[in-house]
């Protein structure tokens, strides 16, 4: 059974979806990602969906869920490289993906993530606070 690889890069987790997602794969990705965030204490997730050409409401919800779940684990999610057709479909389905940030390409997505994490770090009153400990144990 194939899985979508999740790469750790410093504070970030990188996910590139190279195949069209089917339901099982999407559910596995959701579970794997949340587990990885809590294990590594990542601050940001970057999901590249530039190769995805078909989405349905289930897929849209999974992406939205990933955003909300990682937010609970103190990680920001950026979805990059969405194709116009996919964007139109999601809007028509009434899924504007409120929980996630979006960027045009990986480069801009990385910049956005860095910016967001900087901002949250400054906001953070307790710098030692770390979510990963509370949840993985």
């Amino acid at each position: 059974m194939d899985r979508i690889p999740i790469l750790k890069m410093g504070q970030f987790l990188l996910v590139t979806i190279q195949v069209d997602l089917y339901d099982r794969l999407a559910l596995d990705l959701e579970a794997d990602l949340v587990r990885m965030v809590s294990k590594t204490g990542a601050k940001g997730i970057l999901i590249d969906i530039s190769a995805v050409s078909i989405v349905d409401s289930f897929m849209g919800r999974i992406i939205g869920n990933i955003g909300v779940m990682s937010k609970l684990l103190d990680a920001e999610t950026v979805v990059v490289g969405m194709q116009p057709a996919v964007a139109i479909t999601l809007v028509e389905l009434g899924l504007p993906l409120k929980g996630v940030y979006t960027a045009l390409n990986v480069e801009k997505g990385m910049d956005l993530l860095k910016l967001k994490i900087q901002v949250t770090d400054e906001d953070e009153t307790d710098p030692e606070y770390d979510h990963s400990d509370d949840i993985s144990e």
């Binding site: 979805v79 116009p84 139109i88 504007p96 993906l97 045009l104 390409n105």
Partner: protein, 285 residues
């Protein structure tokens, strides 16, 4: 039937054509700029030949008869081509009406008895009337095709995406926004965002005459789709009347950046991209 109308027409075919041409040329509104007399004659001759060939005693009073298929085909062809060339309905109508006149004139010369004459004339009248109706139907169909094609063209032309600055694109919308148009607008905007790697898109609606809740919903959709792509969408060119309607209709546009003019939208875009436009200050020597 005592009088063989078909024979008369066969014999008098050339005369009918002459009379018909005379009738057509006599009309002051003849458009010689659109079609030369030779072409008109050729067209008329083709129609008469087909008509005389398919006409017989039995189908004289039955325009739906299959014998006339060829005539109707020619008529429709002429009618549609005239619609495309820009003839007026009156001119097209005259074309077929004057044939009726020519036919009746010939019949008048040939038939002696008043009773028979009336009978034949009435039948001819009915037949030619149904041909006229067919002509009009196809004429209008031809015109509608022209209109449909133009509508398509307008919606294609009227959605130009302009690259205002490196990373900023603008799309001025002119005319009413309906679902089909929003689709075109959305697609061209999103495709251009990908191509130009722009992070700000300005949607200028100063050319949109009215904004109702449907149009607002279309706008919101476009903005959401742009956001999903990873770009920011600004709506500019909101006129005072439109602002009033939006509030009266209770449409919530609070999640969207709106500006009154394209200039202020551009200024906002510059700020987002951390660009500064400054007036050059000349050093005083």
């Amino acid at each position: 039937m005592a009088i063989d109308i078909t024979k008369i027409f066969k014999k008098k075919q050339t005369e009918i054509l002459e009379r018909w041409m005379q009738n057509q040329l006599a009309d002051a509104g003849l458009r010689e700029d659109l079609m030369s007399n030779e072409d008109l004659r050729a067209e008329s001759e083709e129609l008469i030949t087909a008509l005389v060939k398919s006409l017989n005693d039995k189908n004289l009073s039955d325009a739906d008869s299959g014998d006339f298929d060829h005539v109707i085909e020619i008529l429709s062809g002429i009618s549609i081509s005239r619609a495309r060339q820009g003839y007026s309905p009156r001119e097209t109508g005259l074309f077929i009406m004057s044939l009726k006149q020519a036919l009746i004139e010939v019949v008048q010369d040939e038939i002696e008895g008043p009773k028979e004459l009336v009978e034949v004339t009435l039948k001819l009248n009915r037949l030619m009337d149904s041909f006229s109706i067919i002509t009009f139907e196809t004429f209008i169909k031809g015109r509608e095709e022209v209109i449909l094609r133009q509508t398509d063209e307008i919606s294609e032309i009227s959605t130009p995406v302009i690259r205002v600055w490196d990373g900023i694109i603008a799309l001025p919308i002119i005319g009413t926004l309906d679902s089909a148009r929003t689709q075109v607008v959305m697609e061209s905007l999103l495709t251009e965002i990908v191509e130009s790697e722009s992070s700000v898109a300005i949607l200028d609606i100063s050319g949109v005459p009215t904004v109702d809740s449907l149009v607002a919903q279309h706008l919101l959709k476009t903005v959401s789709a742009t956001r999903l792509m990873g770009a920011e969408c600004i709506i500019s060119g909101i006129r005072p009347e439109i602002a009033q309607t939006i509030v009266h209709l209770g449409i919530d546009l609070s999640g969207i950046v709106t500006k009154a003019t394209l200039a202020s939208a551009l200024q906002y875009a510059f700020r987002t991209l951390r660009l500064v436009v400054k007036k050059e200050v000349k050093a005083i020597s």
